[in-house]
């Protein structure tokens, strides 16, 4: 049990990455929520001394390799998004889950626009509004991830 406790954050992030790259039909793929961003957001708000910008940077690099983007693109966007949450974690903790979901939506929109602009700098991509669907699905997913991870955290007493 002691061992699992030490690796819980890493394990949840790993599961989030698996969900992020799991192959699904193209129609569903459009609505894929930002699993890694959401799971990281929870840990940053709950345990900011365990997970913050450094972890975000590392998981961003892993995402870059998994998704085949230029190294540093996802780590850049994820670091900024997580920084916003880490800087305000005391305030965000006091919000209700639904208010937090809206904040997650805003952060996810920031994350996607950063990704878009970085890609835009590197190659000639065009903005499509469909690419912002993950913002809404991430908002919808947040409460469930929040309740689940809180349960995990309390059960395993991770501090």
């Amino acid at each position: 049990m002691i061992k699992v406790r030490h690796y819980t954050i890493a394990l949840t992030l790993l599961v989030a990455m698996v969900f992020q790259i799991i192959p699904v039909p193209a129609q569903v793929d459009l609505y894929r929520p930002d699993w890694v961003l959401i799971v990281l957001s929870y840990w940053v708000m709950a345990l900011p001394h365990r997970a913050n910008v450094g972890v975000a940077f590392t998981s961003g690099l892993a995402l870059d390799i998994l998704l085949g983007t230029a190294m540093g693109v996802h780590s850049f966007a994820l670091s900024v998004a997580i920084y916003v949450l880490a800087a305000n974690y005391q305030r965000l903790r006091n919000y209700s889950v639904w208010q937090q979901a809206i904040i997650i939506g805003v952060v996810s929109a920031l994350y996607h626009s950063l990704l878009f602009w970085l890609m835009r700098l590197l190659m000639d991509v065009n903005f499509r509004f469909e690419d912002l669907w993950p913002v809404l699905t991430s908002m919808a997913l947040w409460p469930w991830i929040f309740w689940m991870l809180r349960k995990v955290r309390r059960q395993l007493r991770i501090t």
Binding site: L14, M17, V18, F19, I21, I22, P23, A26, D29, R32, P48, H49, N52, V53, G54, A56, F57, G60, L61, A62, I65, L66, L67, G68, T69, A70, M71, G72, V73, S75, F76, S79, V80, Y83, A86, A87, L115, F116, L118, M119, L122, M123, D124, V125, N126, R128, E130, D131, T159
Partner: protein
């Protein structure tokens, strides 16, 4: 409890560090391309995650296979037998034509086209960043896959290998925004360049003059001019030609013949002058 700010550098410094590192990595990777060798290693490092992500789909497939009824299997068998019959009939004519073609080419002193070694690969993962269209296949450096290798499905060209891992590799689809392929029209041999636009079912012909002889329904095959793709494999069909004289070039939309959104089995090609060769046992008959 202790707060983050009591230990280590402050949050702002961490962010500045992370951003500086990211920008440095982007420049190193994208502009200077220093990671091409490290990527092989990194890709192999994360391949367990990819296998893990692939597992649910594979399990579903396996259970679906176990649950198919005998009736369905018999029907499928019947269909496949019929198809083999039809294809064999075509093949009979094809062998004669091939011989004839080789003879004619020899008469003209043109080089005879050589057969290529091929290998069947399976799709492992589809990449879902909206800004890039890539897939991962289950063959890698140990199977002799090399950078820039052409990948096909049963209908036409799918893309080229862009990163080689030890046991899997990443393929850039022809529909990616950064990809272009030299093609020629089957009807009149005029040459074009087909570029991806980021949509999975549509490509564009770039810099087509208004006077170019191209119409809807024309089939485009690879011209082999870029020395990446072998010559003569089908690529796309023209779906729309707009000749708006107020624009510098005609706008030509084409649809890839390969079903890029429902790939499952793919074919890897080894031309004669390939930098690597496949191990003999994994090879599909080269004839």
């Amino acid at each position: 409890m202790d707060t983050i700010f009591t230990r280590g550098p402050s949050l702002n410094i961490r962010l500045a560090l992370a951003l500086a590192m990211s920008v440095l990595l982007i420049v190193l990777d994208y502009k200077l391309d220093t990671f091409s060798t490290t990527r092989v290693f990194l890709n192999s490092l994360v391949s367990p995650v990819q296998y893990l992500a692939n597992l649910p789909g594979q399990l579903l497939n396996a259970s679906a296979q176990r649950l198919t009824s005998q009736q369905a299997l018999i029907e499928e068998n019947q269909q496949l037998t019929n198809r083999i019959l039809l294809l064999n009939e075509k093949l009979q004519r094809f062998t004669v034509l091939e011989q004839e073609n080789a003879k004619l080419r020899r008469l003209l002193d043109a080089p005879v086209r050589q057969n290529m070694r091929k290998m069947v690969a399976e799709l492992m993962a589809v990449d879902n960043t909206p800004y890039s269209q890539q897939i991962v296949i289950n063959k890698g450096a140990i199977d002799g896959v090399f950078l820039g290798q052409s990948v096909l499905d049963e209908r036409g060209i799918v893309g080229q290998v862009m990163e080689v891992g030890s046991i899997n590799s990443r393929v850039l689809l022809i529909s990616d925004v950064t990809h272009s392929i030299p093609v020629r029209s089957v009807r009149n041999n005029s040459r074009f360049i087909a570029s991806g636009g980021g949509a999975i079912d549509e490509l564009y012909l770039s810099h087509v003059p208004h006077s170019a002889d191209i119409r809807e329904g024309d089939v485009l095959v690879s011209s082999g001019l870029g020395k990446v793709f072998p010559e003569g494999y089908p690529v796309a069909e023209v779906t729309r030609v707009v000749r708006d004289e107020s624009r510098p070039f005609a706008q030509v939309n084409i649809e890839p013949l390969a079903k890029l959104n429902r790939l499952k089995f793919l074919l890897l090609l080894w031309p004669q002058d390939a930098p690597e060769s496949p191990p003999v046992d994994g090879e599909v008959s080269s004839d």
